[in-house]
């Protein structure tokens, strides 16, 4: 819960968190090693210096640590787990539905656990999706269209089997399709993170919501174009938001474009934990004001109402969360992180006052 200076409480739903195991022991090959290395690169590049983790802390973490980072030291009230299986890279998978489900049991009410499917599993995978949906009462799935699978380097949502899976999602009541469309990787021509397939899928499956994680960056222009055409396309701000600290001018450009093209009802906050933590992200976002020139040029408005929508109301709508009921059920866990310097003063003078 984030409390404004005037005492207003803002309920925060983090749309994008992971509980992963990127440790050496779980790495299947060099790709697994390089995958977590790449995440660590993002972490070290955009995190404030005082929030930097060591490699050991970053490689994997406990449920207790995650709970503390999100809800106690951070401002999240609920979080949506987005799995990333990567079983070609990691022995037990990188971040699976089963691993995330442990959190849901341990901290009732705090977590929404999403599933995943891979259309390349064809018919057998459809049965597995049925089971997964029943076991975890899935309302959403996270798709990683650039995931390697044997010789395949990715798939598109317009592939015939992908369409069968989306039909099954509709039948199972899985309405929220989160699709990772982020920085360029594979396959070779353009790449599997190209946002173009979202356009066709969103048109064909009007009953589903497509949340494009990372807003298709670096292809913001393509994403904005598609999201404006389709009423059921949303933007997930994971990876976008962390630019707010070290590259505020870029963040300003991106968020103003997103607000101009999609509007405040179509954007979802996500920390991408454990790459970044919700403490500084939310503090920076709440303090952020669009530069006047940008606001004037784009007509974008990022006021308190817009921030409330982005931080929780939009996700609550997509996932049927009754915020008032949740407020009663979940005590506000937030506590300010102990100030290290106060616990261990470097010199007496600094704390004498």
């Amino acid at each position: 819960m984030y409390t404004t200076a005037s005492g207003e409480e803002i309920f925060v739903i983090d749309g994008h968190v992971h509980k992963w195991d990127g440790s050496k022991a779980n790495q299947r090959n060099i790709h697994g090693e390089q995958f977590i290395n790449c995440f660590y690169g993002y972490h070290t590049f955009l995190s404030p210096a005082e929030k930097l983790l060591t490699r050991e802390q970053f490689d994997t973490y406990s449920a207790e640590q995650m709970h503390r980072d999100l809800f106690v030291h951070g401002y999240d009230d609920m979080a949506i787990c987005q799995p990333t299986y990567l079983t070609d890279f990691y022995v037990q998978g990188f971040n699976t539905t089963e691993q995330n489900a442990v959190l849901k049991t341990q901290y009732p009410g705090r977590f929404i656990v999403n599933g995943a499917f891979d259309p390349r599993d064809e018919a057998a995978g459809l049965d597995q999706l049925d089971e997964l949906a029943a076991k975890h009462q899935l309302q959403g799935v996270k798709l990683y269209t650039a995931e390697w699978k044997g010789a395949s380097r990715g798939y598109k949502l317009t592939d015939p089997w992908a369409e069968k899976y989306l039909e099954r999602c509709e039948a199972l009541g899985i309405r929220n399709i989160h699709v990772h469309k982020g920085p360029t990787i594979l396959p070779l021509d353009r790449d599997a993170f190209d946002v173009a397939d979202i356009d066709a899928a969103a048109t064909n499956f009007q009953g589903l919501n497509f949340i494009v994680e990372h807003c298709g960056l670096p292809r913001l222009d393509d994403f904005c174009w598609i999201a404006t055409q389709e009423t059921n396309v949303y933007g997930g701000l994971a990876v976008v938001l962390p630019f707010i600290r070290k590259k505020p001018q870029y963040f300003g450009h991106v968020i103003s474009q997103l607000l101009m093209w999609l509007g405040p009802d179509k954007l979802l906050y996500g920390s991408d934990y454990g790459i970044w933590t919700p403490d500084w992200l939310i503090e920076d976002f709440m303090a952020y004001e669009l530069p006047e020139a940008l606001a004037k040029e784009t007509g974008a408005v990022l006021d308190l109402e817009a921030k409330k929508k982005i931080l929780g109301l939009n996700a609550a709508r997509l996932y049927g969360v009754d915020i008032e009921a949740q407020k009663l059920r979940l005590p506000n866990a937030h506590q300010a992180r102990p100030v290290e310097s106060a616990l261990a003063p470097a010199d007496g003078a600094a704390v004498a006052a």
Partner: protein, 249 residues
């Protein structure tokens, strides 16, 4: 000329050639992005170039484009007989290095995984570079007091002959390098199809182009940050250019 000086001079020539090669998505020279790790003269007429990218996963097609552009640019030097371009720490390093060494196209190197050639991709990014460079120059010229009416009617020779301050001169040079992407034609400023721009529509034209620019800048910041995280400055591997000394030849 002594061989040491000749070698230094040739390495400088290679570096100048590499400075003309850009990352297709960022439209910035590979030398300025700190992608080049070493330039080595391995034998008479033989050049070896080492380069690296911000992540192990950077798109293979972009990596291939850059490697091939480096080979072509350096091959244009009269004294160069052979160029080896070696991409390091990348998931497709071996495939790309072998493909470029054989002078193969992207499709030949990657087989079925490459669904189409690189030409369309190259063209897409040339068009984006044209737009970005044009927008930057136009914004600068408007700021310097040129009117929309004058700019949309300006001919190429007039733009080339315009006395400009240093910053404007640099923007003009960059833009003129890409002007032909939008076709021949006498006008200095045209849309991507080569058509004239109405004076009243110039502001809108600039706004539309801006999203392309934001993309590239966001990307550029990300790439630089990831590269610095991967090869921390001061950790040895991040020295901008390591000129490896070879026996004189």
């Amino acid at each position: 000329m002594d061989t040491g000086r000749l070698r230094q001079e040739r390495i400088a020539q290679v570096r100048a050639c590499l400075a003309t090669v850009v990352d297709p998505e960022l439209d910035e020279p590979v030398t300025e992005l700190d992608f080049i790790t070493d330039i080595t003269l391995t034998a008479p007429g033989q050049v070896r170039i080492g380069f690296r990218l911000p992540t192990y996963w950077c798109a293979a097609n972009f990596a291939f484009l850059m490697a091939d552009d480096m080979r072509l640019a350096v091959s244009s030097l009269a004294w160069v007989e052979g160029v080896r371009v070696l991409l390091q720490d990348h998931m497709y390093a071996d495939t790309i290095n072998a493909g470029v060494a054989r002078g193969e196209g992207f499709e030949a190197a990657f087989g079925e995984a490459a669904e189409g050639g690189l030409q369309a991709l190259r063209r897409t990014f040339e068009r984006k570079a044209f737009q970005r460079r044009q927008a930057a120059l136009l914004a600068w010229l408007l700021e310097a007091g040129h009117t929309a009416q004058a700019l949309v009617a300006m001919r190429r020779e007039a733009l080339a002959g315009l006395p400009l301050a240093e910053a404007g001169e640099r923007l003009r040079a960059r833009y003129l390098q890409r002007r032909d992407v939008a076709g021949g034609g006498a006008l200095a400023f045209v849309d991507t199809e080569g058509g004239a721009i109405a004076a009243a529509a110039l502001a809108r034209h600039l706004t539309d182009t801006q999203r392309v620019d934001i993309n590239a800048e966001f990307n550029g910041a990300l790439c630089r940050g990831l590269l610095a995280a991967r090869y921390p400055p001061g950790a040895g591997a991040a020295v901008p250019i390591r000129i490896v000394r070879q026996p004189a030849h």
